[in-house]
């Protein structure tokens, strides 16, 4: 589904990603953990070229997203993204946030778009909030609308960039629940997270990043209980 070959990213002289090679399979849920500044978010953002990789290749569904022949906008429709700060459109209602891309990119009629939008709101448990503007929603609700908005385009992959880090603790659960449901439905997901409990429960594989590289990877049980690298064990001791 996603294949990353020798990906590198530098900001000026600072090398934030170094020689990343990884493959993510269809229907797999991969969590990326690691200390802040380790390059997790930058790596995730390279997967839909919100961040321009300096070197290497990223293949998504058989297309090299670095290839100038490929239309990045079409590829991005296939890759949903959820942000730490939700980034809902404040001038739109919850429903309009979801339907905007359907109307303008997929050229749905208003009725079709709203039907699909309402279905997605129902899926994230927010049917009642369809006509509210984002500022009147709680953080957890906003993030659930943001997930619904990303799902509207029927992406093959969903990227989550610390989706619960900006939430009050009591709202983390509702967002994680929506993500668990998605995982159960077989969505391919790449999740940068600090929620170790969630990672342990939902992830098929965990990548541990430090200093711009993937230091170690493995199934949750094996990584959490018997990490091979000293650095990984150190990190896990701090957060678990």
């Amino acid at each position: 589904m996603i294949k990353v070959n020798d990906l590198g990213k530098s900001f000026g002289s600072a090398e934030v990603l170094k020689h990343i090679n990884v493959e993510i399979y269809k229907q797999e849920v991969v969590c990326i953990i690691g200390p802040s500044g380790s390059g997790k978010s930058t790596f995730l953002r390279c997967l839909n070229r919100l961040e321009e990789p300096s070197t290497g290749e990223v293949w998504i569904d058989g297309k090299n997203i670095m290839d100038k022949q490929e239309n990045i906008n079409t590829i991005r429709q296939n890759v949903g993204m959820v942000f730490q700060h939700f980034n809902l459109f404040p001038h739109k209602t919850a429903l309009e946030n979801i339907t905007l891309a359907l109307l303008k990119i997929k050229k749905y009629t208003k009725a079709e778009a709203e039907q699909r939008g309402l279905k997605l709101l129902e899926k994230v448990g927010l049917s009642a909030k369809a006509n509210q503007h984002s500022h009147s929603l709680s953080g957890g609700q906003q993030q659930r609308v943001a997930i619904a908005r990303a799902l509207a385009m029927e992406p093959q992959v969903m990227l989550f960039d610390e989706p619960t880090s900006a939430l009050d603790p009591e709202m983390v659960g509702e967002v994680l629940q929506v993500m668990k449901d998605l995982a159960r439905e077989g969505m391919t997901m790449v999740i940068v997270t600090h929620e170790m409990g969630f990672a342990k429960e939902v992830a098929d594989r965990i990548l541990f990043m430090d200093g711009g590289s993937i230091l170690e990877e493995g199934q949750p049980t094996e990584l959490f209980l018997q990490a091979k690298q000293e650095r990984t064990r150190e990190f896990l001791k701090m957060v678990l």
């Binding site: 839909n48 919100l50 906008n73 079409t74 991005r76 429709q77 890759v79 949903g80 993204m81 942000f83 700060h85 980034n87 809902l88 459109f89 404040p90 001038h91 905007l100 891309a101 303008k104 990119i105 943001a146 908005r149 990303a150 385009m153």
Partner: protein, 218 residues
Amino acid sequence: MEFFNLIADSMPLLLQGVQKTIELALLSLLLATTLGLVFGIMRVSKKAYLQVPAKVYVSIIRGTPLYVQIIFFYFGLFPLIFGRATSPITAGIFVLSLHAGAYLVEIFRAGIESIDRGQFEAGRALGFTHGQTMRYIILPQAIKRMIPAFVNQFIISIKDTSLLATIGIAELTYSAQTIYAVNFKAFEFLAAVGVMYWVIINALTWFSHWIERRLSAV
């Protein structure tokens, strides 16, 4: 009492001036907004071939007085290019638009840059192009924030039309000049003209507050 009779007698001519002033201001602002939007979007672009022309435009126009620009285009550049004098109205609207447009570039730039970067990223991540993201996501939010600065520029432009009297456009100030050139009541007529500008501008200010209230209610 004599003062009011004097003004009342000249009212038709003054009102013609008011009409011309408003026409000039509206038309110039319309063109200036177009210029401001196009160059404003170029100004926030990362591509040098878009950004640099916008910067040069703003720098030249903001760096020189409007009065000089009016004289320069009307008496200098236009006759040179077209081989004859252009109509004062055409030249006047051109210069006013060009002038206000440069300030609007900066207003658009500030408005666009005030929108959180995450909005842009959310749009691009959904698959919107750069242009679509601007149109459907960034500009609707930015324009709302720009309204006070925009109104301010509109007010300045209305008053700037008075400088067009120098090239013989019969706007409000010029109308007054032609009247007091005959009756020598400069003080009275300039006072009357001042009041008329004040009324136009405050009516506009009131209108813009009304719009702002309506927009913030949404």
